[in-house]
């Protein structure tokens, strides 16, 4: 057993970090909110970079890589609030795995796919092709997108009215379930990156900012809050890696691992955002500070791919099921 990233993964993370921190940023997220600017790096750049298509087979023009690799990249994307999310790419790569033409379209960018669940659709804005499950059949079609007033402008959220659909896969429930779990894993990886970045911001500020003659990070009230975030972030990291590994190598463990990672990501990112705003005091509550952009991500992500409440419930059912065996 070796539960650690390999050198290959670390190199991949470095590359992704360079690319993503050069092309996306909290400032870009703020501009998206303020001026309706497009999300960065944007769909085309993400595809061009090859990062978005890691899990599409080489035969279809993708990277032929693993979910773990994509998760490593997704963490870096989360750090800088990059958009669109890698979640739709990951899910679509599973859903379309036996449909080579459409898979190739996903890989070369000619299909801009978003997956429809309950509620507003992640990265509906900019998508032209929508996948959903209807009575057990995977269907596909164009859609009309209405954006309302999203809390977080980087998630491309919109309500989608599906146009005429084509049936793609019958009896697709197991496929849909697996894709959703891979999606939850990648969503959790993006949450991990965002939470880890928040923690850095909080720790940095707590070292610099002085009150009553010493750094605020020397006070237990501040120190212990940040430690609780650290513990949550490291445990989220472990769950994300486990889920990604399970997606690639241990399908039997994926349902529990993905639900646990999704739930932990929702609560950890929220804890990190609220803690780091509190640590910053007034300055952390301003529009110009980055903290609220992560806070918006937290308040949004917790509802995506089923909310944390649903995920905790699923964990409990699975745990009881395994215990009964």
């Amino acid at each position: 057993m070796n539960f650690d990233l390999d050198q290959e993964h670390l190199d991949l993370a470095d590359g992704a970090r360079d690319f993503l921190s050069g092309s996306a940023s909290p400032a870009a997220a703020r501009a998206a909110l303020d001026e309706g600017a497009g999300v960065r790096p944007g769909r085309a750049e993400l595809i061009k970079s090859g990062y978005a298509t890691i899990t599409i087979p080489e035969s279809a023009g993708g990277g032929g890589g693993t979910v773990l690799q994509l998760a490593v990249v997704a963490e870096q994307a989360g750090r800088v609030l990059a958009g669109p999310s890698l979640v739709n790419f990951a899910r679509a790569a599973v859903l379309l795995e036996n449909l080579p033409d459409r898979l190739a379209g996903l890989a070369d960018g000619s299909l801009a796919v978003a997956v429809i669940d309950d509620g507003p659709v992640l990265d509906a804005i900019g998508a032209d092709t929508f996948l959903t499950l209807r009575d057990g059949t995977l269907v596909c079609g164009p859609g009309e997108v209405t954006a309302r007033r999203p809390i977080d402008a980087t998630r491309g959220l919109g309500d989608v009215t599906l146009g005429e659909t084509t049936d793609l896969v019958r009896d697709a429930r197991p496929l849909w379930g697996r894709a959703e779990r891979v999606g939850r894993t990648i969503l959790a990886a993006e949450g991990l990156g965002a939470a880890a970045r928040l923690l850095e911001m909080g720790v940095e500020y707590a070292k610099e900012r002085h009150t009553f003659g010493r750094p605020i990070g020397s006070y237990q009230a501040v120190k212990h809050m940040l430690v609780d975030v650290y513990v949550a972030v490291e445990q989220l990291r472990s769950l994300v890696w486990w889920a990604a590994w399970a997606a690639d190598r241990a399908p039997g463990e994926l349902p529990l691992a993905a639900a646990a990672a999704k739930a932990a990501a929702a609560t950890t990112l929220e804890l990190a955002a609220e803690t780091v705003i509190q640590v910053h005091g007034g300055i952390g509550y301003t529009w110009e500070h980055d903290a609220h952009l992560y806070w918006r991500r937290a308040k949004t992500d917790r509802f995506l791919l089923g909310d944390d409440v649903a995920a905790f419930d699923e964990v409990a059912r699975l745990a009881m099921g395994e215990a009964a065996r």
Binding site: D118, G119, R148, I151, H210, F212, E288
Partner: protein, 385 residues
């Protein structure tokens, strides 16, 4: 103990109600509305008559607050003036200052703001750097304040400055009344994370203040500021007022949406509502207890901070619930609760962060020992090196 109104209180309540029924406010005319209320005797109820008030009881004021809240009316525009600046002028101002300012403040003829916090002096207020230097029969002030509510509209402010950097930090401070329209005063709105701009940065560039606008003695500014802060206590979570949404409003919202949720979500929503509601009621009735003490003539003590501490928490939890019962649509939908949610992180910071309030309660109510102070006995000048 009796929660019911005494006959006098009941008569007063009837008077307030009847007035409010006959005088619906026009939302845009906030100043005029405050003047109308003042002229009817419902503003500054507890202030002394010679300060332009009515010389009434805290309970009468509480009844006005309850009745205006019950009708969903917004707080008065000059709330900070009434709650903090005015009481400071009453205690520390000269006769002339009291004459000039107090009645106009209560009528909102003048709006007031409170200029205390600075970029490097938040929780540690006494570390402030805005300098006031003698200049003939007056003073010259330079520096920067921040988180100043209403500064963009205010006519006057109470301004805490450093007049002597060569004594320990609490001792070199002096308080003034400053004319916000004076040359050299620049106000720049600060945008909050929810997009609104309720706060400002205020820059003082060699602003002249006559010495007769000083509040209290030179070097006595910390004691003057304590009057302000003590008055602030009751206006934030004290006296049974809610922080954030009223729990009844959340209950109404949940009641309106819960039927559309699956049964398991209803169970969870009720647990959350019950927990938040009990906390909010606990804070409210604890505020009433403080009000009763106040009515007996006791000063608002540090225990009033408990209301803000727990009120902030229950407001956060109840608002979170209000968002959750909307389901996934919450992230693009209902603006009201989204905005409320994005306001709450500020509540646990402004007017004393949770951490500072816990220190105050721990040390001044429970009598727990203070932490060793790194800056003790050091002059301000040495402390910023």
């Amino acid at each position: 103990m009796d929660f019911d109104d005494t006959p006098d209180e009941a008569a007063w309540r009837a008077e307030v109600r009847s007035f409010l029924e006959r005088h619906p406010p026009v939302p845009e005319q906030a100043r005029a509305w405050q003047a109308t209320l003042y002229d009817a005797g419902f503003v500054g109820v507890t202030w002394p008559v010679e300060a332009g008030g009515r010389g009434g009881t805290p309970m009468q004021q509480a009844i006005v607050d309850q009745e205006t809240a019950r009708r969903g009316l917004p707080p008065l525009i000059n709330l900070i003036g009434i709650g903090m600046c005015g009481p400071t002028v009453i205690v520390h101002g000269s006769d002339s200052q009291r004459q000039r300012y107090l009645k106009r403040l209560l009528r909102a003829d003048d709006l007031w703001c409170q200029l205390f916090s600075e970029p490097s002096a938040g929780s540690d207020l006494a570390a402030l750097r805005t300098r006031a230097v003698r200049d003939g029969d007056g003073w010259r002030v330079s520096g920067q304040k921040v988180w100043t509510t209403l500064a963009h509209l205010a006519d006057f402010g109470i301004l805490l400055t450093r007049t002597d950097p060569d004594v320990p930090k609490h001792r070199g401070l002096t308080m003034f009344v400053v004319d916000m329209k004076a040359p050299g005063v620049t106000v720049r709105p600060l945008r909050q994370m929810n997009g609104d701009s309720h706060f400002n940065e205020v820059f003082f560039d060699d602003v002249r203040i006559p010495d007769d606008e000083r509040l209290g003695d030179v070097g006595d500014g910390w004691r003057v500021a304590l009057t302000t802060l003590m008055s602030e206590r009751l206006s934030l979570g004290g006296g049974g007022t809610s922080i954030g949404p009223k729990p009844e409003a959340v209950a109404r919202h949940v009641a309106a949406h819960i039927g559309a949720l699956p049964e398991d979500r209803q169970v969870l929503a009720r647990q959350e509502l019950g927990r938040g509601y009990v906390a909010a009621l606990g804070a409210r009735y604890t505020g009433y207890r403080q009000l009763s003490k106040l009515s007996r003539g006791e000063l608002p003590g540090p225990e009033a901070s408990a209301g803000k501490l727990s009120g902030t928490r229950s407001a956060r939890d109840l608002t979170d619930l209000a968002v959750r019962v909307l389901g996934p649509d919450a992230v693009t939908g209902d603006a009201e609760w989204q905005d409320m949610q994005a306001m709450l992180p500020g509540m646990a910071i402004a007017g004393g962060s949770d951490q500072v309030l816990r220190n105050i309660i721990g040390e001044r109510v429970l009598g727990l020992p203070a932490e060793p102070r790194a800056d003790k006995g050091v002059t301000f000048r040495e402390s910023i090196r």
